[in-house]
Amino acid sequence: MLNSLVSVLQGGAGAAATAYESIATVTASGGETSLTFSSIPSTYTHLQLRFSALEAAGNNITMQFNNDNANNYVYHYLVGTGSAAYAGSVTATNKVVIEGQYNGTVGTYPNVGIVDILDYTNTSKNKTVRSLSGGDNNSTTGEISLNSGLWLNTASISTIKVLASASFDAGSSFALYGIKGA
């Protein structure tokens, strides 16, 4: 049965068999500074990226669209560190953050995230991104964050580049899904 689109985009209510489809999965072999989804079909209404990443300490994960690396992005964040909650924003920058800084030290502690890219083919709208991400390592360096991002461009999204500020360890996986409207 088909649940509402809103509940699907909140990271996980059930959907009809063909409303939510897997597009592609990219897995790092180790050492990559970016991973790319190209030739994204335009047949969906929204995209969702789900990832499980193994990273070097101090790394964060960001996103660019259609190879645009100019200062056409804005993002806001709300972060919990376990001891404090803080918020902020960055304007006129060249990417959006989808996962904040990883402070772990062990490669078996994956940082995970769910990123929604809404109305990605609508050529009348700038593109918005929402992410929930985080990692815990049973110490003082876990972090949970909510991020919202804006790409100041009305072009349909056909390429998504996911970037590491350091690098992705082997086994980091990013899975892209398409969500169809009615």
Partner: protein
Amino acid sequence: MAATYEPIATTTLLSTALGYTFSSIPNTYTDLVLIVQGSTVVSAGDSITLQFNDDTTSNYSTTGLYGTGSSAASYRESNTFTQTGRISTTQSTSIINIMNYTNGSTYKTVLARGNAPDSLVITQVSLWRKTEAITKIKIANQNNVVFSIGTTFTLYGIKAA
């Protein structure tokens, strides 16, 4: 086309209970999504807790972020149980994502969002420090109070390409 996002199992409580357990979870998906919608009787349950594969030890930890309507704060619980979502005496909804649950090389990370309209909105990331695939999920709540009749527990599987 084969379904990517499939319901695995669901249950609705016909009598009050301390929780529910999903067993024999197939290993054919990439992520699991657990949705808990309902309430607790008498007093708030606080966070929903998950135990995996009958592990009752302290192999769990959580970092959380929440807003109460007047402030935002963050907390951490180490070497304890997972805290995912929220359950209260008013109807509450939690969406809990168990990521990469069959990966035999990494620990298991859980992302959750919880909405308890009478108290707060919350999001958490939790870790289970075991590399084995998850085949069983025992659901309870932090205050060990009974869930109300009509509370639903639904488990979905998401399969990546």
